[in-house]
Amino acid sequence: MHAAVVVFPGSNCDRDLAVAFEAAGAKVSMVWHKDTKLPDGIDMVGVPGGFSFGDYLRCGAIAANSPICNEIKAHTDRGGYALGICNGFQVLTETGVLPGALLRNAGLKYICKTIGLKVETSASAYTAGYNAGDVIDIPIAHHDGNYFADDETIATLKGEDRIAFTYTDTPNGAKADIAGILSANKRVLGTMPHPERAADAGHGGTDGQALFRALMGTLASA
């Protein structure tokens, strides 16, 4: 698997994500937001957490209109895989690759802690390493993680088995407790919790490892 990790001004989980991909056996290329082309032969695009362009206007809004995002959109339109974590999830909703939006946390506070995350489906390349119903410990660190979509969209996500993760105890007001969602073809995952921050014994938890290993299993031959 060859993964590209996008770097925006303000990204701060880009290297963590690269390390998690590499630990699972992937080759990683870092890609700058001004690049107008993804490297040849990319199987997966990682959009990392942190910040982007100061997150002025709305989180991820300016990043979503940067040159590399046109390429990410073209990549996912072709059926390519993409993983957006935290700010990366916000960027993917702002580009329209994933439905809905991330609002300010209902309690208005930035929240940084490890939370319980329920795996809602194992039917995706990202969640195949878990069983539906598993509860895993994954860190969150966000101010705008309150997932919102209209009722019709939520019903579609549920009906198409596209809710990847829910919170066991929703910290941010997210509708239907949603922490992570999949695209219609299940090849794009957006998640507020950070699996790459629970992917090494040194992190204090390894519950995120199975996500990267499962991806590698699916994409190794691609």
């Binding site: 939006a101 300010r104 919102f148």
Partner: protein
């Protein structure tokens, strides 16, 4: 020429910041504030000849996220 764009969260979208402002007003003794919604005003200084359609395109593409926000444009009579 100048145009002004007002961006508000849509009805039905929780506005925790507006809610915090409402609480603050109440605790300061301003009674009777039933609700507060907080939005944004964006002023654009535009070259002559810009049209409302140009500003609408800016709103749709960047200035507002129409999943959660509605917008109104002022300045084109």
């Amino acid at each position: 020429m100048k145009a002004r764009v007002h961006v508000m969260l849509k009805n039905g979208v929780l506005d925790p910041q507006g809610e915090a402002v409402r609480h603050a007003l109440g605790s300061m003794g301003f009674d009777g504030v039933n609700g507060v919604r907080q939005g944004k005003v964006i002023e654009l200084d535009l070259a002559d000849g810009a049209t409302e359609a140009d500003v609408t395109a800016m709103c749709e593409k960047l200035l507002a996220n129409t999943v959660i926000e509605s917008y109104t444009i002022e300045g084109f009579a």
